[in-house]
Symmetry: C6
Amino acid sequence: MISTYYEIIGNEEEIFLAAYHQQLPLMLKGPTGCGKSRFVEAMAQKLGRPLIQVSCHDETSAADLLGRYLLKGGETVWQDGSVTRAVRSGAILYLDEIAEAREDVIVILHSLSDHRRELYLDRTGESLKASPEFMLVISFNPGYQKSLKELKPSTRQRFIGLDFKIPAESIETKIVSRETGVNDKDAQRLVRFANKVRNLRDLGLTETVSTRLLVDAAKLIKGGVPPRMACQVGIISPLTDDQDTHLVLADYVALAF
Amino acid sequence: MISTYYEIIGNEEEIFLAAYHQQLPLMLKGPTGCGKSRFVEAMAQKLGRPLIQVSCHDETSAADLLGRYLLKGGETVWQDGSVTRAVRSGAILYLDEIAEAREDVIVILHSLSDHRRELYLDRTGESLKASPEFMLVISFNPGYQKSLKELKPSTRQRFIGLDFKIPAESIETKIVSRETGVNDKDAQRLVRFANKVRNLRDLGLTETVSTRLLVDAAKLIKGGVPPRMACQVGIISPLTDDQDTHLVLADYVALAF
Amino acid sequence: MISTYYEIIGNEEEIFLAAYHQQLPLMLKGPTGCGKSRFVEAMAQKLGRPLIQVSCHDETSAADLLGRYLLKGGETVWQDGSVTRAVRSGAILYLDEIAEAREDVIVILHSLSDHRRELYLDRTGESLKASPEFMLVISFNPGYQKSLKELKPSTRQRFIGLDFKIPAESIETKIVSRETGVNDKDAQRLVRFANKVRNLRDLGLTETVSTRLLVDAAKLIKGGVPPRMACQVGIISPLTDDQDTHLVLADYVALAF
Amino acid sequence: MISTYYEIIGNEEEIFLAAYHQQLPLMLKGPTGCGKSRFVEAMAQKLGRPLIQVSCHDETSAADLLGRYLLKGGETVWQDGSVTRAVRSGAILYLDEIAEAREDVIVILHSLSDHRRELYLDRTGESLKASPEFMLVISFNPGYQKSLKELKPSTRQRFIGLDFKIPAESIETKIVSRETGVNDKDAQRLVRFANKVRNLRDLGLTETVSTRLLVDAAKLIKGGVPPRMACQVGIISPLTDDQDTHLVLADYVALAF
Amino acid sequence: MISTYYEIIGNEEEIFLAAYHQQLPLMLKGPTGCGKSRFVEAMAQKLGRPLIQVSCHDETSAADLLGRYLLKGGETVWQDGSVTRAVRSGAILYLDEIAEAREDVIVILHSLSDHRRELYLDRTGESLKASPEFMLVISFNPGYQKSLKELKPSTRQRFIGLDFKIPAESIETKIVSRETGVNDKDAQRLVRFANKVRNLRDLGLTETVSTRLLVDAAKLIKGGVPPRMACQVGIISPLTDDQDTHLVLADYVALAF
Amino acid sequence: MISTYYEIIGNEEEIFLAAYHQQLPLMLKGPTGCGKSRFVEAMAQKLGRPLIQVSCHDETSAADLLGRYLLKGGETVWQDGSVTRAVRSGAILYLDEIAEAREDVIVILHSLSDHRRELYLDRTGESLKASPEFMLVISFNPGYQKSLKELKPSTRQRFIGLDFKIPAESIETKIVSRETGVNDKDAQRLVRFANKVRNLRDLGLTETVSTRLLVDAAKLIKGGVPPRMACQVGIISPLTDDQDTHLVLADYVALAF
């Protein structure tokens, strides 16, 4: 297993470890592409625990998480779902974009996230007690304005919360160059371009430039694509389909490179 | 089985016992995280009856509660659901957040909650008479303003009702210190901070600070996290995503610690 | 079988018997908790016919009523549903809250409720002729203002209709004391309190106090709960979640006891 | 088989026979309870053809009509649905309240109702040619104002149409007395009462008094119920839940009897 | 096989043959009952190719078109759907009222209707190349004002389009007399009556008189029904339920016959 | 395998190859019928990788993409879906019209489109690492004004973006003549006609003339259909059902030929 590269940007490691040791479930909040998934990967490696990730969406079913019966040789045999495997193995369970999931999926977590720390499999009649190593982590993006889905207070109040922000310029530059091998100068130009765009509030973008986009553009530059075209293809086009905004952003690219 | 810690805050024990002995179904009403589940656990232990809990949601199906046929060795065999097991074993059956359930799930309870005290399993053709030890308890949160779901009068009027409130300061302080091992002073500071926030009516919060959140913050303090950061992570971030409200609440935290 | 207690309040028995002998399907209309189910139970006992009850809701399926194929020993075997069993056994079939059912469930009753008195099982290809002892009874609550569901005229006009009202004071007092063993004085106080509340039109209640609620409060009193608390828990809290209405009703309780 | 009683009220028999011999599908239009089903029964008996009736609703599936595979002895065996049985046996197929059915059910009829007169079973790959004796009859109620469902022109224009009206007073009186055995005087009073109500346009009734309701009330009278109570229970209560309309109609009953 | 009668009304045959030889998919547009299906039948016979017809509706599933697995003798065996059979046999595939179908059904046609001419069966993993004899024809009714369903441009632009109109008087008269055996005079009266109605724009009809309706009325006349009654039953009643429009149209009938 | 004809119109090949070698997922944006699918086919051939195409729609299920269990000989055996086959075989995976797909289908791509390049099959418990040859390509049409579906930023920002436009006149003429064998003059007339229509902004067309339509019309001309009729049938009728627009466009055709 290759160790995941993750650059610490605040007190997130301290809180994660306290939550882990106090057996408190944790909720990560922050914009898309800011490194939440990588952070959880890095923490799991540090703690030496297996990591089980689930990307939530509105078709995720309780059976996907808990398990289901399959027919084998004329018998129905039980197959554990992701959450059940995590509880049995004392893993870090990471449910990404939890707010997209349906209520029935979220409610499954209730008995796991309070003093009971228990998972009840109604289909098998089994009740699983989580070991002290098990930890429940969820994430969602509070700034995503298009989404009308919100977590109910009776779910939110079961988690402690950690707010992620976009990293400071020097840290983000380090991330971009370290992840792609692009030279420091180009990495810094990309980050400065991104920060200028992030400060333009009236572009009407649903979400602004993520660190992930900068990494993509840097990879294209590293692969021989001219920087301006790399920014067009790796940052501007993924951000928006609006042709006028494309022109505005192309001007900022021309200033940066 | 370790006895559940529960601190009595009013006449709830007296009513529960009268309902149990008069074989009346009981409805618990109150905000999230105020201890309804713990109360039912403690009563079940006091009465020496098994407790079966179901967290309701809009995907809970009648089959989840009553049971279903499974294929085993080429035969279909019947497997009891939660409600059926509770009726067969004379348990306390606790249906949490009943208002989230679909009509078909709620209607199953009708014959159990009137003079018949009977459960009819249409799939097996079986009719189960509840023993005198069986008790039906439901809960819901009437103050949860986001929810448009309400129980129909024909369901509500089958239950007697018990209203839960947030406990008095001295009792809540005792709960926080007893559950987390935090010192009395910090427990009191947390409760006082909570009561100030609870009195701020114009914060626009869907729900206010629950006892559960205070317990989470106290656990972080006990685990070595500085109190102000523990309040941020354990109380403020779970309460809301609004950055302005975060700032207001951070000021109150600074006053408390 | 213990005989069901039912107190006659009008011409309901005469109509029921005429409908039974003329083989006319019957529709009971009236508020929740006024004794419709008990009445049907008592009539079935009087006529010496088995009673089959179904609580309708919008997830009741045609298969629940007609029957379904189950896998047993590698064969599909047919299992009768509630309506089929009632037709085969010449029972009184009682479909409670019929207006909640889906159209496909209601349409099943059409051939049973006209001159054909026949049930067609499309899955088995069987056609069952009802014996003269079979009777179809449905109920619904026309005053339930929240419900937008209504029976179609082509269904309604297949039934004769019996309107239930809240019983007169002396009859209701008799019901309360007879069912709970509470003394006549407390029974009368409960009924008078109920009638005062029933006359308050501007409380905004979806449904008003039913006889069932009075019986519940009386049982609590019989079980040793002080009358005012019994009214709070057994009548007021089940009626509404509105705190202002709670206060108004508590004043009426204080006047009554 | 007992012959169905049906009283001819216009040119309906002539049209039915012409449609049968010219192999044209027929659409019956008219209010609830005016005798459409009985008419089809009587015609089927006259022509000596079996009659297969289906009450349509929005849960009727294509499989209900065409057929489905069932598991028997480890094999899937095909079971014909109602329409398939009608085509194979050269029956009169009567689809009641066709406008309630879903599109997929109605579309099944397309190849049966044009020059092809063919039914295609996509699940078995079979194509059935209807024999000259097969006839397709559908019905719906165009005056039913609550229904927003309408047949598409591409379906309607495949049928010839026969409009049913409420029969003239003398014919309706004959129907009521002949079907119930009530004396002619009471039959006439019932019909006159009905015609008065039918002329009251501002009662706000979804549908007005059907012949079926008169027959029900007459049966109650025949069974010993006093005429006024029989009208209340057999006509007024099935018509509406509105208490004010009840009072108005009770006055008309008092004038009639 | 009896040859289908079809009367050419424009350049439709020339276009059909060019599309067939150039392997271009064809879209027929026009009102209900104007002969689109007959035209495709006649073309298939002329080209000597088998014809497979599917009437589309919003419950048509991808499995209906592509095929499904069935259980036979404990094995799952594959059964081709309509489209698959058409591709395998090099047939003319005619999908009637395509705009009624769901997106997933329409998308199946994409790879068949561009340069690939290929059908991919995801359930079996098979990829079928259409032979040069295979042709895809769809139809829909653009003037059907009730329908809110439209084909997406990315589907439409895969087809060449052929617009159908109501035939000229002399051709329509020939169709009516040839199909029914009615005398030329009555055929002409029917067509003239139809053309008068078609020119009345303010009748509020969803669709106007189709050739199919004239054929139905002519058959009734041929079967001995008096012409005016035949028009009432065969044309007016299928067109509309509005009683006022019935009266207007009856006047036009009286002028014609 | 015959090589796909594709005419390069900008820097699309350079970007595609850089994305392939940098293992970045690619998003193609552009109008219908502009050659996106052909481009991906040509690139796959150039790279010597197999191509797996999926046309997305709102009924595409996760099982279609990942795989499902089938019953064979009494055992459940696993069958790979399209995405799984693409990952196992290191193919170019092309998901056409991705914006039409449901969230659960799109979310499946998340772990494949970030640093993990992994596909998790929850039903088998298998985790597949994509080989360096695997590439993920999606397409959608941002200008399609009818569609209310948009990709979420958390999905978009996982892809680099390539914007397709309609090719310049000389290139489009070359495509039309090369693909159909029509003479250069007619090809040029078709392209010029198309460009005139594309510049007419107030025609109210959902989409304008695509290269695909020009190719269809050219094929009809090549097949002997007179040019004006070929334009009517191959371009105008597929574009719109509006008769007035038909007349306007017919005038432009008359000017062109």
